[in-house]
């Protein structure tokens, strides 16, 4: 595997008030990386440091410690952003520009020549369903349209890396689906995508990996399947399971409960699970489904965030 296009290494950021009397630690040694073709989600409650991390990667804010790299270059170099597309949260394109002019200005600012911009702009406007609005001034756009234009502007120079802050903010459900499809298409084309979103369902649908930030630190990172797996807890659906078999399961140390037409089964490990399956088949019961039980990403997220909250004192 080559060098990851997005690398954050021990990023810390301490904000000081104007006269230095108050400090806020927005990031505290956060590290993560986004590989080629990967959609990576950055999660965290408000104030966890997600936006600060993205801003450091784009050179908008300087880190107090640590370093960031984009496409192999330190983020302090403007050239590191040559192959990067960014969609900021709450972006404001100049209202006097039309959609086409917006793509022209920002495409050229990303190093494209006029001919390339003229070729690329209609394609992108078509892709984000703004063709009919190409020559309308941006100030007349709805929030969802502005968001789609922002995505087109981030893609105008066909970047290798996409950093997206709340990309579906203000977009209707159909538009949201289209944006999801578009981003997945881009990931398939080999782009590294860093997604910063509050919408956990979006993250769950789109991302291959996530990192959860809490108080500026990465408290969990991994594949969504791994983070949401609950270990040795399974859902079992089978015909012909009687109380005798369940008692036999419990004798081996397994925990098993009948719940609404299926069984909640907890085994010690995979070997134990296989032994239970062998026993079930030997008893003549018919196995229909055996699947690991997962938490939702929301459960994992809320759990991680609550772990870091100060414990409430209870009266004795």
């Amino acid at each position: 595997m080559g060098e990851a296009p997005v690398r954050a290494e021990g990023l810390s950021k301490l904000y000081r008030s104007r006269f230095g009397s108050r400090t806020v630690r927005a990031l505290d040694g956060a590290s993560f990386r986004v590989e080629t073709g990967q959609v990576f989600g950055l999660l965290g409650p408000n104030g966890a440091g997600k936006t600060t991390a993205v801003k450091i990667l784009l050179g908008l804010t300087r880190p107090t410690a640590g370093s960031g790299f984009l496409c192999g270059r330190p983020v302090s170099e403007p050239e590191s952003r040559r192959r990067v597309g960014y969609l900021p949260e709450g972006h404001r394109f100049p209202g006097y520009l039309t959609a086409r002019q917006t793509l022209s200005i920002f495409g050229r600012m990303s190093g494209l020549d006029r001919a390339s911009v003229s070729r690329r702009a209609p394609e992108l406007l078509e892709r984000v369903r703004l063709s009919e609005w190409a020559d309308v001034r941006v100030k007349k756009f709805s929030k969802g349209m502005t968001q789609r234009l922002g995505l087109a502007a981030a893609l105008v120079h066909d970047p290798d890396v996409l950093l997206l802050d709340e990309p579906t903010d203000g977009v209707d459900p159909v538009g949201r689906r289209e944006i999801r499809d578009l981003l997945q298409e881009e990931a398939k084309r080999g782009k590294a995508i860093l997604l910063n979103s509050h919408l956990l369902s979006e993250i769950e649908r789109m991302c291959d990996r996530v990192a959860v930030l809490r108080s500026g630190k990465v408290v969990a990172e991994g594949r969504i399947e791994d983070l949401t797996a609950t270990g040795s807890h399974y859902r079992l659906v089978a015909d012909g399971v009687d109380e005798k078999l369940l008692a036999a399961f419990r004798e081996t140390g397994a925990s098993v409960e009948r719940v609404n037409g299926h069984f909640d089964l907890t085994a010690r490990d995979l070997g134990h699970l296989n032994a239970l399956v062998d026993r079930l088949r030997a008893s003549g019961a018919m196995l229909q489904e055996l699947s690991p039980v997962r938490s939702s990403l929301e459960d994992v997220f809320v759990g991680l965030v609550r772990e870091g909250e100060p414990k409430k004192e209870t009266p004795s």
């Binding site: 904000y15 801003k55 784009l58 050179g59 908008l60 804010t61 300087r62 403007p78 050239e79 590191s80 952003r81 040559r82 990067v84 960014y86 900021p88 709450g90 972006h91 404001r92 394109f93 100049p94 006097y96 520009l97 002019q101 022209s104 200005i105 920002f106 050229r108 600012m109 990303s110 190093g111 494209l112 020549d113 502007a153 950093l163």
Partner: protein, 284 residues
Amino acid sequence: MRAFTASVQEVFREAAARWTLIAYFALSTIFILLFAAAVNLDIVDGALAGMKLFGQSVDVGDNHIEIDKLVLGFESTFSGVLYFVGLFLALFATAHLVPRLQEKGTIDLYLSRPIGRVSLLLSRFTGGVLLAAADIVYLIGSIGAIVAWKTHVFHPRFFLSGAVILFTIATLMAFAFLVGVVTSSTAVSLMATYAVFFLAAILALHDRIAAAVSTEFAAKTVQALYWIFPKTAELGQATVALVAGAAAPERLANLDHFAVYGSTALFGVAALSLASWLFSRKDF
């Protein structure tokens, strides 16, 4: 370079969209057309024999008025007026360039592109100066051409006055950029820059003020401020003197040009350098 030129172009697009550019050119055009249509001169043997203003004859008496001197007088007065009016309009039209760039949700869009912060700031500055230059060239060029057409007198120095006006605009615009970077406020940038203009004009009387103050420290402060601030009053006089040439009054002809232009240029370069340094270190 593409990023730089795209940013410069955007300054023009913005000026056009906000009607600043169109309003200025429309007003200038009305003035030029009125001037072209209203003034008709009758010149005999290089002297003014008769004059009509809006079709009405103006009594020029029996005085022998050399047309060359008349044109020189008009052009130097016009350049003096344009110095003040053009400067104020140009600053008014460009003071928002930095504060608006630094707005949340806008700055991210620009800085996430492969352009250095200093280049971005300088591209806005270049755009602003070019915008002011376009306005001045249009007005001075048109008026100069009309005067030459009506009088057959051509003074290249009149066109050079535009360069002095532009130099002053660029210096004060650099200061407006500095205030814009620090405060992110168009109103404060504009007020602070106009304040510098007037304070610097008052400091033209530095010797008299220094003699009038009661302590030596205050006198030295006045003198120091005079040398730090741009020489706005002297540059206005220099604009007139440049056009008038040999015909300029003695006090204008004897201006210490090195001190006037040199110290003003230093002020502008220092303001723009400081603005660039602060902009490049700012967290957004």
